[in-house]
């Protein structure tokens, strides 16, 4: 255990923060590549005699920057694995535990897959800048995951948030992308304000911003109303981040309007990191005011608040998703529902509940990156992402159709895919924790929600497998070979979903073992 009281040993800090440093350096490198190649293209643009150079330069820049970004992330993963198992710096500002290491690796892996998918997005004209922002957002994820101090968490949230706002609005030429970016920015900054206000109240009442100290303070004295306000404010801020109802209204527009890859990253990485942090804040920081969400023993605390958020998310997300005809919007509402399921594990408030939540979100993130990857390929082939653009995909492109079936069925919770085990794990943990089946109401609601959800996931699969290909405007479908990297990525992700379903212990046991 490395403990650093005073900030004298910066070398030690640099060593422990080296994964983040690697990613930041990679981001700068990628940015440099992007800038230099853009200058070249600008020069080429001046002379009308060489119009092709510009295109090839663009492609080369795209390849190079993707490659550098991918290598940087792989190096960062390797560095995370080499670091010591446990370390605490500056009283919890920067923490390394098995759990943080595991989730840094998962966040980096999500970043890696996102980078692999970037090339399918034709609308992105400055790949260097775009990749650099993805990498910076990944650093934000890592900071979020690796901190137990409220201010540092807030900085991580802001770094992540600002990167994501830019990513959402990146397609300058598209009105919807601008709308998505603006909406996401307005909602996100409001939620940041809530979080910051909550944190300041908590600091004012407890005199500290480290989670351990907040917890000690909460345990020692009865809860004052002001402190309760602070707790609720913080939770609301996070509810915005994870798109839990009724704070989910930004999600459908952001998911639909943003460039597909940005939406994939918003739906996956941002969610995983938010759940890791939210879980640590409520379980470590607010542990003493857990309360009880059981139907026969309701007691005030954060768990009834989260239970209400979970119930609303499951209901609203699933019911509204039924009416969607655009796949990205459908995924957005299903994301609201899945945030609800994941919250069920936190409501339980046990070690097992938290690890079930983390397993579920990690698997969800993998699934949703894959699903958006397919959306991106289909979108660039048929210039749309409505359900009818997917008609007959099974015959146009059996591989993508099969992978989409894996993702959709995993989201619906069909064995032998990871979503099925994840749901069983979550719901059994919640039922176990409630005491005398206290959380049965929430579990029953969640089961009902997943019953409803099967309908709209099947509608997606019906379009893909049953409907006639002629319904999609298939004249403009690109050659398959041009998406080789995306196809490999998607296939790897669906294999992972299958693997975590058949052998869930490969991930679940790791998460459980890493739990404090």
């Amino acid at each position: 255990m490395t403990t650093l009281a005073s900030p004298t040993s910066y070398l030690e800090l640099l060593k422990l923060a080296s994964p983040e440093a690697v990613v930041v350096i990679t981001a700068l490198l990628v940015l440099a590549i992007g800038l230099t190649s853009r200058r070249a293209t600008a020069g080429a643009g001046v002379s009308p005699s060489k119009p092709t150079t510009r295109v090839t330069d663009m492609v080369v820049a795209r390849h190079w920057s993707s490659l550098v970004a991918a290598i940087g992330i792989v190096v960062a993963i390797a560095v995370v694995m080499l670091l010591p198992r446990d370390a605490v710096l500056f009283g919890g500002m920067f923490v390394i535990t098995p759990l943080t290491s595991l989730f840094k690796v998962i966040c980096l892996a999500l970043g890696f897959f996102t980078v692999c998918l970037v090339r399918s997005e034709k609308s992105i004209r400055n790949p260097g800048e775009y990749l650099a922002i993805i990498l910076l957002a990944t650093v934000g994820l890592m900071l979020l995951v690796g901190s137990e101090e409220l201010l540092m968490i807030f900085i991580g949230l802001e770094l992540l948030g600002l990167s994501l706002y830019v990513m959402a609005a990146f397609d300058k030429a598209d009105l919807r992308s601008a709308e998505a970016g603006l909406k996401y920015f307005l909602f996100g900054s409001t939620s940041s304000a809530f979080t910051l206000f909550g944190i300041s109240l908590i600091y004012g009442m407890s005199g500290s911003t480290t989670l351990a100290a907040v917890s000690a303070k909460l345990a020692s004295a009865p809860v004052q109303p002001l402190l309760a306000t602070g707790v609720v404010m913080t939770l609301i801020g996070f509810a915005f981040k994870i798109a839990a109802a009724p704070f989910h209204l930004w999600a459908p527009d952001a998911y639909q309007g943003a460039p597909v890859i940005s939406a994939a990253f918003i739906a996956s990485g941002s969610k995983v990191a938010s759940f890791v942090v939210l879980g640590r804040i409520v379980l470590i920081g607010f542990g003493p005011v857990h309360g009880n969400a059981g139907w026969h023993a309701m007691a005030a605390g954060w768990s009834p608040v989260l239970a209400v958020l979970a119930a609303l998310s499951i209901l609203i997300g699933n019911l509204v998703a039924l009416a969607q005809t655009n796949l990205r919007r459908l995924l957005a509402y299903s994301a609201v529902a899945h945030a609800g399921y994941s919250l069920v594990g936190l409501v339980a408030g046990t070690r097992q509940g938290f690890s079930a939540t983390l397993f579920y979100t990690a698997v969800y993130a993998i699934t949703v990156v894959g699903a958006f990857g397919i959306v991106a390929v289909v979108r660039s082939g048929t210039s749309g992402d409505d359900l009818r653009n997917f008609s007959g995909l099974a015959r146009r492109d059996p591989l993508l159709a099969g992978c989409m079936a894996v993702f959709m069925l995993s989201l619906a919770g069909i064995p032998p895919l990871a979503g099925f085990f994840g749901k069983f794990y979550l719901f059994s943990a919640a039922l176990k924790a409630g005491g005398n089946y206290g959380l049965l109401w929430l579990v029953a609601l969640a089961l009902f929600g997943s019953f409803v959800s099967l309908y709209y996931y099947l509608i997606v699969l019906k379009a893909i497998f049953v409907d006639d290909p002629s319904l999609a405007t298939s004249s403009t479908i690109d050659r398959r070979s041009s998406y080789l990297l995306q196809r490999i990525t998607v296939a790897v992700l669906s294999a992972a979903v299958l693997l975590f379903g058949i052998m869930p212990d490969t991930l679940a046991a790791r998460i459980l073992a890493a739990m404090p």
Partner: protein
């Protein structure tokens, strides 16, 4: 004993392999796979001593998810072996009757083998989570089988069937969670030793049992069955009626009744009431149908009512009869759907009884007529066929517990005979009216004589129903001890 576990692996392996081979090989792989499964079943059936089948004996158990107490645990007893055998028989005959499928053939046999493999898995599982995983695994392939390859109103029928199954699955999920959270174990043998508190049993049993019974077609949650059967392709109907409906009844017996015996005793008379309503209602509705597949679909509801009545008797005879009826109906329903869907509909492109009655089909397709007569006789419960052996066992069992039910069911059996004879006469032996002599709607339908594959499939099913009908002891000797070992009888 271990080899029976290979039925699962062989079937899933076949499903995966055929995806990667050229489509010429597809149907042969499917046939080889299902025959291998049936061969394994028969070898296990012959070689296992009857005495070993009296308890749910573990054949393999390896830790799967140790942190949650999940094991990959398979076990076998007489009930399981009977169900596995009918799965094998239905699977082989289903593939034989699907020999003419050309449209998206690879996908078709892939989904078909997934259903078969899932069914093997459910019957052999001795771990609650494993059983539930296989149980849910069967649902989605059925959707694709029906929605892609089906006929009348296929997308509606497929969605209805899937949502009903998943609706039942939701209750099953809740019931399993309650059992798991209360005991901390998922092992069926351990769970069946655990004493659950009576008030827990009083609500957990109906939740679990109703969840399973949806798939068994319990009245009033049966409506998915006729629409699903009609919408499904021949293979889909055969699998659905032949084995998938049995999953519900089997799991109700193996899980719900075994885990919560006191809850079962509290609710058994209500199950009997629903079962009897199902028998009579199914038969009465079948009498009024014009579509041959609807007639058979409702007859399935009626026959599955017998299974539920047998289970509700709570004595060894009635429950053994129920298991025998599951075998018997699996074979007979497959045969009926094969005749209606493959032999008749494929050639005449109609299933309307009124249209068929003018076609003089018994002359055009004597083999089909012969098969249908046998199937109808077995379905009516004529002595000598498996239907009789099973239903008489159930009724004797029911006589001890619910004498009134036997009277009502007796009346219901008259209705069964009535609608079966009506369908038989109208479809094959209708009077040839002068104005409709020229009816053959499809130019080439008389040329298409019954193929060898169809004959093999039909003979296999006819052999099974006759063998069990003439010598039911071969199954009952294995079923009875296993049922007697179950705890809800004590």
């Amino acid at each position: 004993m271990l080899m029976i576990a290979w039925t699962i692996y062989v079937t899933f392996a076949g499903a995966v392999v055929l995806l990667f081979l050229p489509s010429i090989a597809t149907r042969w792989i499917a046939l080889t796979t299902t025959i291998a499964g049936l061969a394994l079943d028969i070898i296990a059936f012959v070689r296992t001593p009857v005495a070993d089948l009296a308890h749910f004996a573990t054949i393999i158990s390896v830790p799967w998810v140790p942190s949650l107490g999940m094991n990959y645990h398979l076990a076998v007893d007489g009930v399981t072996l009977t169900m596995v055998l009918v799965t094998g028989i239905s699977a082989v005959s289903t593939v034989l009757f699907s020999w003419d499928v050309d449209y998206r053939q690879r996908e078709f046999f892939f989904w078909l083998l997934l259903v078969v493999g899932g069914c093997y898995g459910v019957f052999l599982s001795a771990d609650l989570f494993l059983l539930f995983a296989f149980y849910e695994l069967v649902i989605v392939p059925k959707y694709f089988l029906i929605a892609i390859f089906g006929s009348t109103n296929k997308e509606y029928g497929a969605m209805k069937l899937t949502l009903y199954s998943f609706f039942g699955g939701m209750f099953v999920f809740a019931g399993i969670l309650v059992a798991y959270v209360t005991t901390g174990s998922l092992d069926l043998n351990q769970l069946s030793q655990f004493q659950f508190s009576p008030e827990l049993q009083s609500w957990a049993f109906p939740v679990l049992f109703i969840g399973f019974a949806v798939l068994a077609g319990i009245w009033p949650l049966h409506t998915w069955a006729p629409t699903g059967h009609v919408a499904a392709p021949t293979a889909g109907s055969m699998l659905l009626a032949g084995i998938v409906m049995k999953l519900g009844a089997y799991a109700g017996l193996r899980v719900a009744m075994n885990l919560f015996p006191e809850g079962f005793h509290m609710w058994s008379k209500w199950i009997a009431v629903l079962a009897v309503i199902g028998i009579v209602y199914g038969a009465a509705v079948a009498l009024r149908q014009h579509d041959l597949k609807f007639v058979i679909g409702y007859s399935s509801v009626s026959h599955m009512g017998f299974v539920l009545l047998g289970l509700a008797t709570a004595n060894a005879l009635g429950v053994s009869g129920a298991v025998l009826q599951m075998f018997s109906h699996g074979v007979i329903a497959a045969l009926l759907f094969a005749v209606a869907g493959r032999m008749i509909y494929r050639r005449t492109h109609t299933r309307e009884l009124d249209a068929l009655s003018g076609m003089n089909l018994s002359r055009a397709m004597p083999f089909a007529a012969f098969t249908f007569v046998i199937a109808a006789a077995a379905s009516m419960g004529i002595p000598g066929f498996s239907g009789f052996a099973a239903e008489i066992t159930i009724l004797i069992g029911a006589w001890k517990t619910y004498p009134i039910a036997v009277w009502i069911t007796g009346a219901g059996m008259v209705l069964v005979a009535a609608f079966t004879l009506r369908a038989l006469v109208k479809s094959f032996f209708g009077a040839v009216r002068a104005q409709t002599v020229s009816v053959p709607t499809d130019a080439d339908w008389t040329e298409q004589s019954i193929t060898l594959a169809e004959k093999c499939g039909a003979c296999l099913l006819i052999f099974a129903t006759l063998a069990v009908g003439l010598y039911p002891k071969i199954l009952l000797d294995r079923i009875m001890p296993a049922v007697e070992a179950m705890r809800f009888l004590k």
